[in-house]
Each structure stands twice: as C-alpha cells, then as structure tokens.
C-alpha cells in the first residue's frame, strides 16, 4: 500500500510504522538543528558583515556555561535516539516463537526459497498477512542481503552460517525484494517480489502447490543415503553418535566442558566440521561432509533433525504439508485450512 505520507515507501509490516515513527523523529530533530544553525549563520553573516575594511571586533573569551549547555543538550537528545533505536532493533532481532519458517539460499544472482511445507520459489516469496514469518538464510557463494523496503528490515545472508530475520506482513500487495549487499556482476538483477496475501488466499496458494517434498522429508532421505542413520539411528534415537531426536533448541554439554544450544547453526557446523564441538561422552569419529552436501541439502538435513521428536517418531514421512509441523515452531500454516 502506498503510504499517504510522501517520500516514505510502502508500509507492509509491523515494523514499518515503528521505523517510520523513529525516522520522523530523527528527521524533525535534523530539520530543527539544520534550520537553527543555518538561520543563526545567515543572521550573523548579515548582521555582523564587515562594514569598514579595517575594523577589529572585540575579542570574546568563550563561555563554559554555553559549552556545557551545547554539550549536554545534544547528548541527551542523542540518547533518546539511541534508546528508541535500540528498543525497536531489539524487537526486530528477538526471534519470534510461533512463526512460519522459510529457508532461503542466496546465490549469485538469485534467491532460492523453500517453505517448511515444501513449496519452492525462486525470487518470489508468498506470505500471509498477520502471521510471523521467520527466514533461515544462507548463501552458496558470497555475502548477499535480503532487503524488503516495505517491511523496513534486512539482514545479511552469509556463506558458511545461518542468519535469520523475521517480519509480520500487515498489508496484502506485491513488494520489492532487493539484494542489498554488493555481490558481483549482476547484483542489481538479484531482485524479486514479496507477495503478501490474505490468509485464505495464501492457503489456496499453498494447497495449489502441493506435491513438492518438504525439506524435512528430503532430509530424511539424505539422512539414510549419507549413512547418518548408522550412528545416529534411523529416527535420530542415537547410537555411536549422539541422540538427535528432541535435541533441537536444547542446551547440550560438550566434551570440552562447555555447553551449546542446538540450533540450525550448530547442526550445520557439526555436519561440516564435526570435530569442532563434540557432544560430551562421544569420540571424534564422525567424518566431515564438507563438499558432499550442497547448501540446499544442508537445509534439508537441518529441517529433518529439527522435525525429530523425542519419542523417536518422525513426522516427516509424507509429502503432505499437513503433516510437517515442527516441534517448537508454529502450528503449521496449513492447519488453518478449513
């Protein structure tokens, strides 16, 4: 929706007005000080112009009182900007608890996206109004940046690790998706659209695209073919390797005495560089899978491991999106289908 305020982009997420409000505050202060300084300058320049060629004005020593005033007041104003900015930023980065998850892989010069329910998209992302959407992102090559001006948010997409961002769309429409981190030749072509839909339309869209394998189901296949199951158990129940079922999101003790939270980044690291953080009680026996799995496959393995429940039952056995609610995450969007 085009904003009614001029010179402000479309507003389509819950962040939009929060960022805009702060932006207007900053603009107001900027305008005030710019006008104040230039007004005073212009007044002085006219009022105290040189009237006779050799006049020498009376010297002034300066004033500690004035110096204190114009140090303290700007500092206090700056602190309001800092506090306000930090507050909104904290909200933007605090990961939401019940969100639709979408996996994003950036590569020169395209965006590959996959919904937890299996639908794949290229340079397009369909999302419903009123639901929090969390992106779990990585890059196959260089650093990219997922930028949606209408949502007032962006985050770098960094090779070698997962970064996340989230937003909650508020207004249906089609919005720009830009790559905001320079990534080489066709950087300005690495763009796309975010399509925000009413929940009912979104559900229709989802069900119109079934048939795709969910990332978790694809991950289960990989889990077998790569031989992970021989040590971790077919359903992640453990064996020579640590138990994976139910491990996601929990803290786990390491051989080194530290503890680490089992998140997407840790699973990824353990697949590619298993010796880095070994779970307490296990030996350094796992081989690296560096070079054997693509970023897409890593995402699938991570999705599978996330889907493993402590009971040992895997929910990710079928292609139907209705069956892929991950533990600890939102109720699947498809549960809204009536």
């Amino acid at each position: 929706m085009q904003s009614w305020i001029p010179l402000v982009p479309d507003s389509a997420s819950t962040f939009s007005w929060k960022v805009d409000a702060l932006y207007f505050y900053l603009s107001g202060i900027t305008l005030f000080f710019t006008l104040l300084i230039s007004g005073v300058l212009i007044f002085f320049v006219i009022r105290y112009r040189r009237r006779t060629p050799y006049e020498i004005p009376r010297p002034v020593a300066g004033s500690h009182k004035l110096e204190t005033i114009w140090t303290v007041i700007p500092f206090l104003i700056a602190m309001t900007m800092f506090g306000w900015g930090a507050r909104v930023y904290f909200d933007q980065y605090k990961p939401p608890t019940n969100a639709i998850e979408v996996y994003v892989v950036g590569k020169q010069w395209m965006w590959k996206l996959q919904h937890a329910t299996g639908q794949r998209e290229i340079n397009e992302l369909h999302v419903p109004v009123g639901r929090k959407v969390k992106l779990i992102m990585t890059s196959e090559d260089v650093i990219h940046d997922f930028f949606v001006p209408a949502f007032r948010t962006k985050a770098d997409v960094v090779p070698g690790r997962y970064t996340t961002m989230w937003f909650e769309p508020t207004t249906p429409g089609t919005y720009h998706l830009f790559c905001a981190e320079y990534c080489g030749m066709n950087h300005s072509g690495m763009t796309g659209s975010i399509i925000v839909m009413e929940p009912r339309e979104f559900d229709n869209w989802l069900s119109g695209n079934i048939g795709a394998t969910t990332p978790a189901a694809a991950g289960q296949q990989l889990f077998q073919t790569l031989g992970c199951a021989s040590c971790h158990g077919a359903n992640g129940e453990g064996g020579r390797g640590p138990t994976l079922a139910g491990a996601f999101g929990k803290m786990t003790p390491l051989q080194s005495g530290e503890t680490v939270r089992v998140d997407e980044g840790y699973i990824r690291e353990s697949i590619l560089n298993p010796q880095a953080k070994i779970v307490a009680g296990f030996g350094p026996i796992m081989p690296t899978f560096q070079g054997q799995v693509s970023e897409d496959q890593l995402v699938q393995l991570v999705a599978f491991i996330k889907s493993l429940r402590a009971t040992g039952q895997t929910p990710a056995t079928a292609a139907s999106p209705a069956q892929t609610a991950s533990p600890g995450t939102a109720p699947s969007p498809t549960r809204n289908v009536r």
């Binding site: 982009p9 929060k18 960022v19 702060l22 932006y23 900053l26 900027t30 710019t34 300058l41 002085f44 320049v45 105290y48 112009r49 040189r50 060629p53 050799y54 006049e55 020498i56 004005p57 009376r58 010297p59 002034v60 300066g62 004033s63 110096e67 114009w70 140090t71 700007p74 500092f75 700056a78 900007m81 800092f82 306000w84 900015g85 930090a86 909104v88 930023y89 904290f90 933007q92 980065y93 090559d141 260089v142 650093i143 940046d145 001006p149 962006k154 960094v158 090779p159 070698g160 690790r161 720009h176 905001a180 981190e181 320079y182 080489g184 030749m185 950087h187 300005s188 072509g189 763009t191």
Partner: protein, 554 residues
C-alpha cells in the same frame, strides 16, 4: 586612520622557495616541505579528476533505470574505482599532504618538518602506490567495491584485486610517514613562545589526524595482506569455503576505514576553524573545546567501527554498544559547529571566497552529521544500510565536509602558496555553483535511500528515476563548478595579481613572512607572544622580529 594593513611586512624578496632553484631535479629531489606540498597538490589533483570522471560515468549510467550505457561489469568497476581513487588517493592525502605539509611548519614558526627526507619519501611512496593502482585499473580494473568485502574479493572476483590492494597497501605507508612527521614536528619544532595553546586550531586538528593515521593505517595494511594472502595461496582466513570468517574482514576493514573518515574530515575542520576565525577577525569561541574535540573525535573514532555491521550476524548487544558510541562521537562534532557559529557573534564577517566555503561547510556538515545519527540509530539503520541514504550521508561528510574545507583552504592560502591572488569574483561564483550543484546531487539521494533504492545498483526500478535525474543534473552542475577553480588557479599562477605578504590582514605566523615564502620560511626565527587569532595583540610593542602591528580597535 592607522590600519591593520600598516603592519610592516618584509618586502617581496627576490628569492623565494619557488624560484630558489630551477630544473626538474631541483623539484624531484627537494627537501623543502613547501615544494613537496606542491608535488602533492599536483598529484592529488590528477587523481581527483580521474575520480571525478568515474563519478560522471556513474551519474550518466543512472540517468535511466535500465543499465544501458555501461555493461554491469564495467559499471561495477567504475563505482569501485571512483571510491578507491577518491578515498585513498585524493581525500586521505588531500589536506594533510598539501595544506598541512605547507603550513604546519609555517604556522608553528619552523623552518621545515622534522624529517624532510622522510617527507619527500612519503611523496614517492604515494606516487608508487598510485602507479601500481593505475596499472591495476588499466590492466583490467577491479570490481569489488572500495570495501573489498570477502569472500567476493578473495574467491569470486575475476578482477585485479591483488594489484589494487598492493597499490593501497603501498600508499598507506605514505600516510603513516606523513602522520609521524607531523606529530614529531608539532612536538619538537615549535618556535619560542609557540605553546600548545597558542597553536592555530589547524595544527591541533592535524595533530589529531596524524594520530589516527599512525595508529589506524597499519591495520588496513595487515587486512590487505591477509586478503591478498587468501586470494593467492587459498589459505582460509575470510572465505568460509576454506574455513575462514567473512565477517572478520568487515571488522578489520572498518577498524581502519571508519577512523579514516576522520582522517578525511578532521583536517577540514581545522581549516574551517582558521577560516571562521580569520574571516570574521575574531578569536575562536571556546578555543580549548574546539582543540580537544579534535582529539576526542580521534579517540572515539576508533571505537565505532561496528556501526557498519548492524545487519551482519554481529551480536545485537555489540550493536547496541556501537550504536551508543556512535552517538557519543557525534557530540564533539556538534561542539565544533556550535563554537564556529558562536564565533561569528558580534564579529566582522567578510564575504571572501574562503569564508563562503566555510559557511557552506558548516551547513553541509550539519546535515551530514545529523544524517549520520539516522545511521547510528539501530532500527533505522537496518532499513537504511546499503541504500542511497548512506551514499548521500557520506558524500555530505566527504564532499560537503572534507572537499569544501580543502577548497576553502586552498583559496585562503593560495596567495601564500603561489604569491598570486586568484580572481575573487570567479571564486565566489564557483563556490556558489559548487554549493548548489552539490546539494542538488545528494539531497535527492536521501529520499531515494529511504524509499529503498539499494546502492551499487547498475539498473533500478523505474520509480526511483526522478531522484536519479535530479542527482545527475546536480552532478553536472557540480562538475562544471569544479572546473572553474581548476582553470583560474592555473591561470592565476601566471596572470594573477601579485599577493603581498598578508593579503587578508591576519595575525597568524604564516602571514608574517613574504608570499611566496623563502625556502627557510622565516628570515628570523619568530618569537611568539600572542595567542592564535589575536587580532589586537595585548603586547604589541614587545613583539620581536619585524612584526610591529600598530592596530586600532574599533
């Protein structure tokens, strides 16, 4: 009426630093800081016009939304090379190596810098760095952006990254040597009576700049070495494919490159302090606050690099600390702006060209500084980072700030440097043209940035075109405005009116010796008994040397 003009200045000498010796060899082997300043002036002007040419190519390409003038690979090289040339080969050396080199010894009453040979060496190193970089540009150019972000620069770019990096690496040493020279000179070479708090504020600001040069530049040298090492030997430092960390590069890069912003703008602030005080014939309001704010900027400037990383996986708590410190570093700059403004109160303001630049600087720097607060503010920066808002902001600092200060200073000291006056009417006219052209170029980019136009885009959605057309129109005016001084400075070297020793009627030491000065700067070592900007000295008759101002208060 006995007037300021009446202070006795040495008659124009027959021999000055320009005509003391003739021949190419006398210039290429000179140890005179003034001649080295001129060598630098020529070289940075050369690079400035190359960088300006790239800028015009960028603006022409962006006139239309389609990427139709240049291919995307060419465009990427053009904006990269614009940044590299302007930052490393124009802005960083601009004021320190030309005006600083020329004026620091003259302002503190010294015969030369502390290490004249090292000073000459620094110019040769600069030249070597420049030649290597130009080789890289001619051989095929570089397309990484001036920021060289990894792993694009180490693994994916097919351009001359290592050669360009080598040029910047070499160039860094000239910066370090210049900084070292200034620090030692200011500590040890001040004339009798020239105490720290009698020094012109230009010296204070260059002292602060030199600290940043000496402490910061080695970090970019190390960073470039690591980058080249990874690119050549494939040892994993930054590329995660080799086991490295790409964000580590950004920390290292900005640890130098953010303070480098202060290398560019602090000297300019020093020039503005000189211009504001001297062209209003008033001592600067709150001298010690202005002096110490330079040092505060130099110190705080090292602690804010993380504000370039708010959208990277940097911890959000680190982000908050960097945001807080970035707001803190704005305060010393604000103090300067308020003090300059207060200086004008009940003063006697002339409208000469240098003052026009100074007034323009204060206005533009205020906008540049205030828009920096948008980018220091975390939530707004998330939306604005890597958009045209950032481009507009730093051009307000680097062109509206650093370049305006440089041009103002060049006009102000031109009579001393060349012994000739520039044409005042043309000077005022071009200052006005540059001011208008600059604002028209960069104001629309703030708006385009908030609307979401990303930087470094070769083609862009058509709704941004109106801002780009305005910007390109402004850039044409700006480019035209820049040509005027280039022409009249060259013209004035031969045809300009002869300048006397003190054409502006000022008390500074550099104005108490002929224009152009003799090789040894002062015939008699001056003894300083007055404060900086003391237009009506308290102890007029006690002044030693040939300076006997019989001034008249009005």
């Amino acid at each position: 009426m006995r007037a300021i003009e009446s202070f006795e200045v040495p008659a124009p000498p027959k021999v000055n630093y320009i005509n003391a010796q003739y021949g190419l060899k006398s210039w290429l082997l000179t140890k005179d800081h003034k001649r080295i300043a001129l060598l630098y002036l020529g070289s940075i002007t050369f690079f400035f016009f190359i960088g300006g040419l790239y800028a015009m190519m960028i603006r022409l390409e962006l006139l239309t939304p389609q990427g139709d003038l240049l291919q995307s690979t060419t465009y990427n090289k053009v904006f990269t090379q614009h940044g590299i040339i302007m930052v490393f080969f124009f802005l960083i050396p601009s004021i320190p190596a030309t005006l600083g080199n020329f004026l620091i010894p003259m302002m503190i009453g010294a015969k030369d810098l502390a290490f004249p040979r090292i000073n000459l060496l620094s110019w040769y190193i600069y030249l070597l760095g420049g030649v290597v970089t130009i080789y890289a540009l001619l051989a095929g150019g570089v397309d990484t952006g001036w920021t060289f972000y990894t792993p694009f620069s180490t693994t994916f770019s097919n351009s001359y990254v290592v050669a360009t990096g080598l040029g910047i690496f070499i160039n860094g040493f000239s910066s370090i040597l210049t900084g070292l020279n200034f620090i030692v000179t200011i500590h040890t070479m001040r004339a009798p009576g020239m105490t720290w708090f009698r020094m012109p504020l230009f010296c204070w600001s260059l002292y602060a700049t030199s600290l940043v040069m000496v402490l910061g530049t080695p970090v970019i040298a190390i960073t470039i070495l690591l980058l080249a090492f990874e690119r050549v030997s494939r040892v994993g430092i930054f590329d995660p494919g080799l086991g490295g960390d790409p964000v580590l590069f950004q920390h290292l890069f900005w640890f130098y490159s953010h303070p480098a912003v202060y290398i560019m703008v602090l000297p300019s602030m020093g020039v503005i302090s000189e211009l504001v005080a001297n062209f209003s014939r008033k001592n600067i309001f709150g001298y010690s606050f202005v002096a110490f704010s330079s040092l505060a900027i130099a110190v705080f400037g090292f602690l804010v690099w993380g504000h370039h990383l708010f959208v990277t996986p940097q911890s959000i708590y680190a982000g908050m600390i960097f945001s807080f410190l970035s707001f803190a570093v704005a305060i010393p700059s604000a103090i300067k702006v308020f003090n300059w403004t207060a200086t004008l109160y009940k003063s006697s303001i002339s409208y000469d060209t240098p003052m026009l630049y100074a007034l323009g600087f204060i206005g533009l720097f205020t906008i540049g500084g205030m828009t920096g607060l948008f980018l220091a503010s975390l939530a707004v920066d998330v939306h604005l980072s890597d958009t045209y808002f950032v481009v507009a902001h730093f051009h307000y600092i680097m062109v509206g700030g650093a370049l305006m200060g440089y041009l103002g200073g060049l006009h102000y000291w031109w009579p001393k440097i060349s012994g000739r006056m520039y044409p005042e009417g043309w000077g005022r006219f071009s200052a006005l043209v540059i001011f208008v052209g600059f604002n028209l170029t960069f104001l629309p980019q703030f708006v385009a940035g908030y609307l979401g136009m990303p930087r470094r885009y070769h083609a862009y959605p058509p709704e941004f075109q109106v801002f780009n057309v305005l910007s390109t129109a402004g850039a044409s005016i700006l480019g035209f405005g820049m040509l005027i001084p280039a022409i009249y400075f060259v013209w004035s070297m031969r045809y300009g009116k002869h300048a006397d020793a003190n054409p502006w009627h000022l008390p500074g030491l550099e104005w108490r010796t002929p224009s152009p000065p003799p090789t040894e700067n002062f015939e008699v070592t001056p003894i300083v008994t007055w404060d900086a900007y003391e237009f009506a000295p308290r102890e007029e008759t006690e002044v030693v040397g040939k300076f006997r101002p019989e001034l008249e208060r009005t």
